[in-house]
């Protein structure tokens, strides 16, 4: 991945400065006191990891256990690898973040979402998948990690040309 | 069958000079006939993409001095162009077989 260019790095410092000031200044934290890595800072390291296990460790620092409370919805055969509609809903409460990992992609971590108090734990988005792959969704609730996995078949279209 | 007669001739032809490698003259002759067939296919508005790419491969091989490969590619391009001409002519009536009535 290309490293961030000069101006962006300074912008991030300002952001971090602002974030820490905000944390000090505000009485009630907008975010549940989640794992330090999962708050405002963009998890650069986690997005650099190639495989799914390293990405999960880089983002959360611990492993998740499968749970049927995490409902992962994705197509069995992707209509097109470039635009795969994927969504997660969960009945768990005190959810602070939800993340998606596409195992066979060049970089496993696809997206991670941070939830404030009062935000319904669920998200729908459209992801890219390089080829037939295992798709893992992880929900961080009250400090513990719960996961759901589904396989999505991906091939190119057309008759070849 | 009409088709197999030229096939046999082609085979005999290619066997005869097999001993010596194709030189630039062989390539130029083969390329000329291939290009003529390709132009005829284009005239029938039924050119195949593979004819065009094989002709290009022939030119590239010739530029690189490999006249064996260049002549072979030119002959293949000719066969492709001839097949597309055959397809265009036979489809003039054959399409009706598929028509929904």
């Amino acid at each position: 991945m290309t490293t961030t260019s000069g101006p962006l790095a300074t912008r991030r410092l300002i952001l971090q400065g602002a974030a820490s000031v905000a944390l000090l200044g505000l009485g009630n934290l907008p975010f549940a006191p989640a794992h330090a890595a999962a708050n405002d800072k963009y998890p650069e390291e986690a997005f650099k990891q190639k495989n799914e296990a390293d990405a999960i460790k880089a983002l959360y620092g611990r492993n998740a256990e499968p749970s049927d409370k995490v409902k992962l919805d994705a197509p069995e055969i992707a209509e097109n690898g470039g635009v795969v509609p994927v969504s997660v809903t969960t009945t768990l409460d005190k959810v602070s973040s939800i993340s998606f990992f596409v195992a066979e992609n060049p970089f496993a971590l696809a997206a991670t979402y941070k939830f404030a108090e009062g935000t319904i734990p669920g998200v729908a988005n459209r992801l890219k998948m390089a080829k037939t792959t295992k798709l893992v969704a992880i929900v961080e609730a009250d400090g513990k990690l719960y996961s759901a996995t589904k396989e999505v078949k991906v091939t190119v279209g057309g008759c070849g040309g | 069958m009409k088709r197999s007669l030229p096939l046999a001739m082609l085979l005999a032809l290619s066997l005869a000079p097999a001993a010596r490698a194709a030189n630039e003259a062989d390539y130029k002759a083969a390329y000329a006939t291939a290009e003529a067939a390709s132009k005829e296919a284009a005239g029938l508005r039924n050119q195949w993409t593979t004819t065009v790419t094989t002709l290009a491969a022939a030119r590239k091989a010739a530029d690189g001095g490999d006249f064996d490969r260049a002549t072979a590619a030119a002959r293949e391009a000719e066969a492709l162009a001839k097949a597309s001409i055959f397809q265009a002519n036979s489809e003039k009536d054959a399409w009706k077989a598929m028509e929904i009535r």
């Binding site: 279209g157 040309g161 | 009706k96 077989a97």
Partner: protein, 287 residues
């Protein structure tokens, strides 16, 4: 290579024999009868897919596969062609350098008229498609014509299609021998095998709609242009009818013709006419 053409010849001679035996109708009707063709065309699909509602055929592959229809409906909540639609609306409102706009070139200001395109222009003696009319409007007002396969043309046709959504396709064939010839020429193009793959449009869209070519499910030919222009995930961008014809040709390894050449205009005329009565559903989103 030899086996390829031998195979070609074998299948063609078989087809010729079959053709001679099975089609008494061709002997009687040398006259071109578009209305009968359209009726037969629609009945073929209605009988082949009795469970598909007639107006659903315009949704292409999604009328053939439930799982893909679900993915499509999810996308339709906030469709990817939204940007092209807004761009088209903006372009329609932006006057040319000479102060005129597209609205001045089209009946009813270009709103709600897409279903009447393509039409047969009796002065020119040829089929005029919406894309051609848009470029002629630009040239008439001193502007550069747009590429037929790029985003600007797709945005314009997306907006015009959107203003006609739900209206039934309404293509007319005047009683003019040249119009009948154009219809017949379009029909011939549709059924003619081409390219090294030796496929015609019908090989995929008549013989095997609903089946897959790798990841994609094939759309039925009936109503296949009603959703145009389409945002294709495959191209991650908009595609006009011209772009679709050109890419379909190269898929079968046939060298595409120039966009808006006579064959393409005539096959668009044929496909639109036989879909008369089915609703316009453009712009569409496809795999």
């Amino acid at each position: 290579m030899k086996t390829r053409s031998a195979l070609l010849l074998g299948s063609l001679s078989a087809a010729l024999v079959a053709f001679a035996l099975t089609s008494p109708r061709v002997v009687a009707a040398d006259k071109v009868d578009p209305a009968a063709d359209a009726k037969a065309f629609q009945n073929f699909f209605f009988q082949k897919f009795p469970e598909v509602k007639h107006e659903d055929f315009v949704n292409g592959p999604y009328s053939m596969n439930a799982d893909m229809k679900r993915q499509w409906q999810e996308k339709e909540e906030f469709p990817p062609y939204e940007f092209a639609l807004d761009a088209g609306k903006e372009m329609f409102a932006t006057p040319f350098k000479n102060g005129k706009t597209y609205a001045d070139c089209f009946p009813n200001g270009g709103v709600g008229i897409r279903q009447t395109y393509p039409y047969f222009d009796e002065k020119e003696g040829k089929v005029v498609t919406l894309e051609l009319a848009l470029n002629r409007c630009r040239e008439a007002n001193g502007e550069q014509p747009y590429s037929y396969v790029k985003d600007e043309m797709a945005s314009l046709t997306a907006y015009m299609a959107f203003t006609s959504r739900g209206k039934p396709m309404d293509i007319r064939i005047p009683d003019d021998p040249r119009a009948l010839a154009a219809f017949e020429n379009g029909k011939r193009y549709f059924y003619t095998r081409r390219g090294q793959m030796n496929f015609s449009c019908a090989s995929c869209h008549v013989q095997s709609p609903g089946e897959r070519i790798r990841a994609e499910v094939l759309a039925p030919a009936l109503g296949i242009l009603n959703a145009m222009p389409i945002y294709r995930s495959e191209w991650s961008g908009m595609g006009t009818i011209s772009r679709r014809f050109v890419t379909c040709n190269s898929q079968t390894r046939a060298v595409p013709l120039e966009p808006q050449s006579d064959e393409y205009r005539d096959v668009e005329y044929f496909l639109s006419y036989v879909a008369n009565g089915l609703p316009i559903s453009g712009p569409g989103a496809r795999p």
